[in-house]
Subunit: 445 residues, 2 copies
Amino acid sequence: MSSSPRHLKLFLFPAASGAHVAAWRHPASRDGAPDFAADRATAELAEAAGFDALFFADRLAFGGRDKASAERSSGAAGLEPLTLLAALSAVTRDIGLVATASTSYQEPFHVARSFASLDHLSGGRAGWNLVTSLTDAEAGNFGREQHFEHGERYQRAEEFVDVVKALWDSLEDDAFPRDKASGRYLDGSKVHPLEHRGRHFSVRGPLNVPRPPQGHPLVVQAGSSEEGLQLAARVADVVFTTQQELAQAQAFYRELKSRLPAFGRQPEQQLIMPGLSVIVGRSRGEAEDKLRALNELIDIDVAVSFLSALSGGTDLSAYPLDGPLPELALTNGNRSKQALFLRQAREKGLSIRQLALQVAGSGGHRVLLGTAEEVADDLQLWFESGAADGFNFKPLYLDDNLREFAEQVLPILRERGLFKREYASGTLREKLGLARPLNRFQGRS
Amino acid sequence: MSSSPRHLKLFLFPAASGAHVAAWRHPASRDGAPDFAADRATAELAEAAGFDALFFADRLAFGGRDKASAERSSGAAGLEPLTLLAALSAVTRDIGLVATASTSYQEPFHVARSFASLDHLSGGRAGWNLVTSLTDAEAGNFGREQHFEHGERYQRAEEFVDVVKALWDSLEDDAFPRDKASGRYLDGSKVHPLEHRGRHFSVRGPLNVPRPPQGHPLVVQAGSSEEGLQLAARVADVVFTTQQELAQAQAFYRELKSRLPAFGRQPEQQLIMPGLSVIVGRSRGEAEDKLRALNELIDIDVAVSFLSALSGGTDLSAYPLDGPLPELALTNGNRSKQALFLRQAREKGLSIRQLALQVAGSGGHRVLLGTAEEVADDLQLWFESGAADGFNFKPLYLDDNLREFAEQVLPILRERGLFKREYASGTLREKLGLARPLNRFQGRS
């Protein structure tokens, strides 16, 4: 059965114990300790449910903006995602494997090589979520006092991704005849050094990994600033975005897709997938009760610290908890999230406490509450009205919240013909209906 | 059953298709194409045979010193070893997983993090083979025209390994109470930023991975220059070395072990493991016939290129093939290997052709030919006469050459009480009888 563009796509974004800041305290949830058996169980559950990919975020520093919140939440430390996904590649068969890697504190050669290797190991299921990193804490682990300024880090990212893609093309698909009889291992005419000398990187090449099964592993990107949008329009196969409301999601979707033709790309060559958490109940009230029970586990100081971090680093604990959000200068952090929080707080008249609980309870993404039918209706509406090609599903805690969604919502989506009944064959790109990038040198040598 | 210091240790060094330069052409051998099912089969065979660890070399550049030899040998491209070992961690249970990573073209934070992650994923089976890299080709992939000079790269390596070990200690073993009831996730008093500002690296820390199960993943090192020996004496748990003759191996063993006390270490805290290939026959003559058949697959131009590369980069194809090895200046490459080749060629009066075939047929390591009893006698002699604590076994081709050794030689070593009958429980360090490094902060906070 081949993949249909009419099927909505689902990635699973597991995090250490879930998207909810207090997930680790939930009696049924994982506590975030390294536990490969549990990671494997989550991956197997996601694959049995038909998720298209696992998607792991990353940060290059010990977490927690301040000591108090680091001591009371689970995200400060965990496993490096590429290593984890490589291990998961050996115990899964169909699900995609998307890991985050930084264009600010990695080398293009290493990134090209690691993802090419994962693509081979997994039979073409690797994806790279390209990020520019966010914090001075990350900079400090790589010889810098401060993180690169927003504009510069996007310039680096643009050059970085071009070098990575050139490395993935530096050996043609048929460069290795490996003919035992004649002794001819490699066809040297199909090897293409880069000799790249750019503003930020100099890379001689070629890559020392045969061309990946997908040609290029999937490229995922999530920036929503002007620079982020342009980069996404130019290079992203999948865009991960924060969208809380239908009209704004539709506007974002139209805006981004409209930028693709300028880069010679068709709108259907890119999948836009907002983040989403879900709580299913037999009634909407039951779903709300479940969220309330989860929110009761939140330490308000941790939530305020979490909000401070997400909204750009201003210490909000210095302001009255039940007062309004102060004016925040846009900082060198994640500007589009800052703008979103500011707008939400203003529009709804939220206090710091209210906004903090909302953000900490969701990781900043949309939380959808309702019966399974109501949730399915909502996903269908977003999918069919040009707001989303699918969703990055962020379980609030692991694994029960994921299992409920898989067992209660996915059957309805399948019945409506909106979600696949089984995996298509082939690579992740083939399963997602995305073209395999031709090698830029193919046929020229 | 606990590990005994009287058991010799065995690591398996698989390479793409084997240590022999023409291995890929052997009808029974793997051809070196990326093939995880085959990697898994090799790992399972090694684990069933009781090998202590898998050991993967690495190079950060597309291989082949010149175009002609790159086209006719299998080592130019392959998978990144950490990614491969992470995948193998999920399908093995006891065998150690040692990957090579460069101190010249990696960042200490990334290296500390990746190996800590692999250690968690594998239940404490990770090892880091610390190398300084060798070539300008590698430098060219990371923004440099030329490789660091020998002295400077060892200075970088010394600082690099200190930072990595400090990062592995930056979170104490019991830093994470993860107490769901009280909400206390982390004990902040057990978190120790480095604030390292050194000559080559500045790293703030702490690491964002909980302390590895082994405390520090195993550290393996292979330098044999004066700088390399000092580094090995100070930090290596396992030393990989090229030794062709018993007396010289004993001298190396004595020399290195004698350097340990100056660093506060006991000689038994380090395992010295020469590289070794083996061909077993029903008679010595049959073993020699097997090697001759394998050597007939060698392209002499490839062998000369291989020798040129190993002996420092001088193009030996410019000299008469059946004449003597010219005077070679010691270059910025692998100096100790160069010295060894020069000495061998002089002592035995070898022509370029003879030396090239010998080196290409073995990757520069000792090749032992004989009946299973003769091979076992030799290993026992080296082990019991202070030449080796074990061996890095380099199959000449995969997997038959490994299988023969496992099926014919290992049973004899077991019968003689020289090799374990089953894996000890616990981490790789515990299995090898090496102490778990205490955290430098333990008990001080």
